[in-house]
């Protein structure tokens, strides 16, 4: 075996490797549009049906769907695809709080520049929703698609018991329910039946199931961050509503009505009737209907509000929206396809297949959806609540804002180390510093 032979072989393998790497680059010829959907069974069926329908009606505009690749979270996958420039053309299930970051990075198509988009949006959504999704640069980069309002699920067998007024709740009546319902059922000296449970973990998104919907309910949907164009953003939550919410939650933990330990590793505590109430979304209905035993009876009410509260109780709507990435070769065709997903038949099919609600006005009273809601009465309260929902503020660092609140939440609510006033004040101060430094980095 000569040295020349070795060198030739090595060179050949190196060239082959280089060609293979070069071949990985996608050829941007006329290719089908790619639509990424969520990877749960209901939404995959939804995506398949609508893609097939589109293919039948528009054979000249090929489009294929693909569930978002597996990963720890869809947010991570989307970020990786943006970095790797392998984004889909259309992505459904984008968390509203992420959109501003991508919009500022210039990777999304400003949808308001597509003719007919704004007209369609105005018919579908209220002006408050349109305002909420408008980016700081004045453009709109997301189509409001679906919501899952967070509400109070109650075990009616327990909350309608003696000495209890039952829901709907004010802070006082909810705390009174805690007094009546929390107990040591097996008499071992430790509580094992509680009023409710919410995650004590500091992870920012856990605040969507306790502090944030309660804050929205108390404040009639007030923002966490002011976002006046041309002025630096500021924390907007240093107010009596946020303080009251912290005090209310602190009381729940202080009096032992909520356990501090993690109950998530065992069987679902609501299903198990170890907790009487739960702050959750409509996805829980399907789960409970499938696994509950005959002794569990439940219903749904708005989030607890301060005793002096008047007006409707807003809540967090957990909005997930649709975006078009700027790698899309034909945004008009992409928008035409999206319209088929979010017109009335599309929205009804979404409800039927997934039990989630379209982010459109009057879902609860529109006759088009009434037969579905009659067949699924447990979902009706969520449909009614969808009139009074909020997403998150359009702020590039909203995740950090929630993380800062989470830190103070833990110190004040769970561990009682701070007063609600000082916890909220410290959180607001930290958010102001964060927003100021972000502004300077721009």
């Amino acid at each position: 075996m000569s040295q020349g032979w070795f060198m030739r072989k090595f060179g050949f393998i190196a060239c082959l490797f280089g060609l293979m790497l070069g071949g990985c680059r996608q050829v941007e010829t006329k290719r089908p549009l790619l639509f990424w959907c969520s990877n749960n069974a209901g939404e995959i069926t939804f995506a398949r049906e609508f893609t097939e329908q589109w293919q039948r009606n528009h054979p000249d505009k090929p489009l294929r769907y693909q569930p978002i690749p597996e990963g720890q979270s869809s947010e991570e996958i989307i970020l990786a695809s943006v970095v790797g420039k392998t984004t889909p053309d259309i992505y459904a299930n984008m968390w509203q709080g992420s959109v501003e970051m991508y919009a500022k990075a210039g990777v999304l198509v400003p949808l308001d520049t597509i003719s007919g988009f704004m007209e369609f949006l105005r018919v579908r959504c209220d002006s408050s929703v349109i305002q909420e999704i408008t980016s700081s640069d004045g453009h709109i980069y997301q189509v409001p698609w679906k919501v899952n309002p967070i509400m109070t699920l109650c075990n009616t067998g327990q909350v309608n018991g003696p000495n209890l007024k039952g829901p709907p709740y004010t802070y006082s009546s909810y705390l009174n329910a805690g007094k009546q319902l929390t107990k040591d059922a097996n008499h071992d000296g430790y509580m094992d039946r509680w009023l409710g449970y919410t995650e004590v973990k500091v992870i920012w998104y856990q605040r969507f199931f306790n502090f944030y919907p309660l804050y929205l309910a108390a404040s009639n949907g007030a923002p966490l961050v002011t976002n006046n164009r041309g002025h630096p953003s500021r924390a907007a939550f240093n107010n009596r509503y946020a303080v009251d919410v912290f005090r209310f939650l602190q009381q729940l933990y202080r009096d032992g009505y909520y356990p501090k330990e993690r109950l998530t590793s065992a069987r679902d505590p609501f299903l198990n009737q170890r907790i009487a109430t739960s702050f959750t979304g409509p996805w829980q209905v399907g789960f409970l209907e499938r696994y509950k035993d005959t002794t569990l009876h439940y219903d749904t009410w708005p989030m607890p509000v301060p005793d002096s509260h008047t007006g409707p109780a807003y809540t967090y709507g957990d909005p997930k929206n649709i975006v078009i990435f700027n790698t899309c070769p034909d945004p008009r065709a992409a928008w035409a396809f999206i319209k088929t997903l979010i017109d009335k038949p599309g929205d009804l099919r979404l409800m039927e297949l997934t039990g989630q609600f379209p982010h459109r006005r009057n879902v609860d009273t529109d006759p088009y959806f009434s037969s579905f809601l009659q067949k699924n009465p447990k979902l009706l309260p969520f449909a009614r609540q969808s009139r009074y929902i909020k997403g998150v503020d359009n702020c590039e660092v909203i995740v950090e804002v929630f993380d800062i609140i989470s830190q103070e939440y833990e110190a004040c609510v769970v561990y009682d180390r701070k007063t609600p006033e000082s916890a909220i004040r410290d959180a607001a101060r930290a958010v102001d510093v964060l927003l100021m430094s972000e502004k300077m980095n721009e």
Partner: protein, 283 residues
């Protein structure tokens, strides 16, 4: 031409080293002077990241937590491993079984072990607390009490890694010449005296090796608090690596995360250098 062949043979490793070690290290140093969220262009910010680091209360708490973990974990690791090694060095029945049993946690996935311990340490449903209840002791909030959570994590980490150090100590113990013990026996030395004046000095190099390995392992504390406590309660188990990870992959502050990583690497380098110097003096 013949002289080139060795270079061709090592070139894959050189390539690997350049792509996966040298370039990332240099790039991360460059990153420390930039603000970058991965998807937007990098922006030069000078030493702003370093200034922020010195004012970042949470980073210093994470460093303190990591050092606290080391202070609890390393002595515990050494005492438990040495005790077990002494036990396994005797002629006992089932010696092979015990050696295997103690080593088993080392080869089990860290995530699996952590989840298992999470179940063990639960307040109401945890096996440990149930055992305490049966013995009429009060339950302990292992993972929910800020003053205790780090001890629980150190206990778990010790259980997970002790098998490896038992093996190292066993090797060390078996290198001690038997004649020394025989001479001590003739002098009427007690077990403790033999351990104190013969065993410990003779296995000193092994102890130092275990200290260095435990230190490096301890500095990279991540899986245990990440899964068991998410850094809580009240950030009492937030480790430095976890905080660096959080800044990078939760907030996408790549420049700041690189700065934290760079300074943390310098700290580890300093600690290892001190240990090395101490070892050289002892030897």
């Amino acid at each position: 031409m013949k002289k080139l062949i060795p270079y061709w043979l090592v070139s894959p490793y050189i390539l690997y080293f350049c792509v996966f070690v040298a370039f990332p290290v240099m790039f991360s140093v460059v990153l420390t002077f930039h603000s970058w969220n991965i998807i937007s262009p990098m922006k030069f910010v000078g030493v702003e990241n370093y200034v922020r680091l010195f004012n970042d209360r949470l980073f210093w708490q994470a460093i303190y937590n990591t050092l606290r973990f080391l202070v609890i974990h390393i002595p515990l690791q050494i005492v438990v491993a040495l005790t077990l090694a002494e036990f396994l060095n005797q002629k006992i029945r089932g010696q092979a079984f015990f050696r295997g049993a103690f080593f088993l946690p080392v080869i089990v996935s860290g995530v699996v072990v952590t989840i298992l311990w999470q179940q063990l340490l639960g307040f109401n449903a945890g096996i440990l607390n149930r055992a305490l209840s049966v013995l009429s002791f009060p339950k302990v909030a292992w993972l929910e009490e800020p003053a205790i959570a780090m001890y629980a994590i150190a206990l778990m980490a010790t259980w997970k890694n002790v098998g490896l150090y038992v093996i190292l100590f066993l090797v060390g113990l078996q290198t001690v010449p038997v004649q020394y013990y025989e001479a001590a026996d003739m002098e009427g030395a007690t077990h403790w005296q033999k351990f104190r004046y013969i065993t410990l000095p003779m296995i000193n190099p092994t102890i130092f090796m275990v200290v260095v390995l435990s230190t490096i392992g301890g500095f990279s504390l991540f899986i245990e608090p990440y899964i068991m406590t998410e850094g809580g309660p009240l950030n009492s188990t937030l480790s430095a690596v976890m905080y660096i990870y959080k800044q990078a992959f939760q907030y996408y502050h790549m420049g700041y995360s690189a700065t934290l990583g760079f300074c943390f690497a310098l700290l580890i380098l300093g600690v290892v250098a001190i240990q090395k110097r101490y070892v050289e003096q002892e030897m």
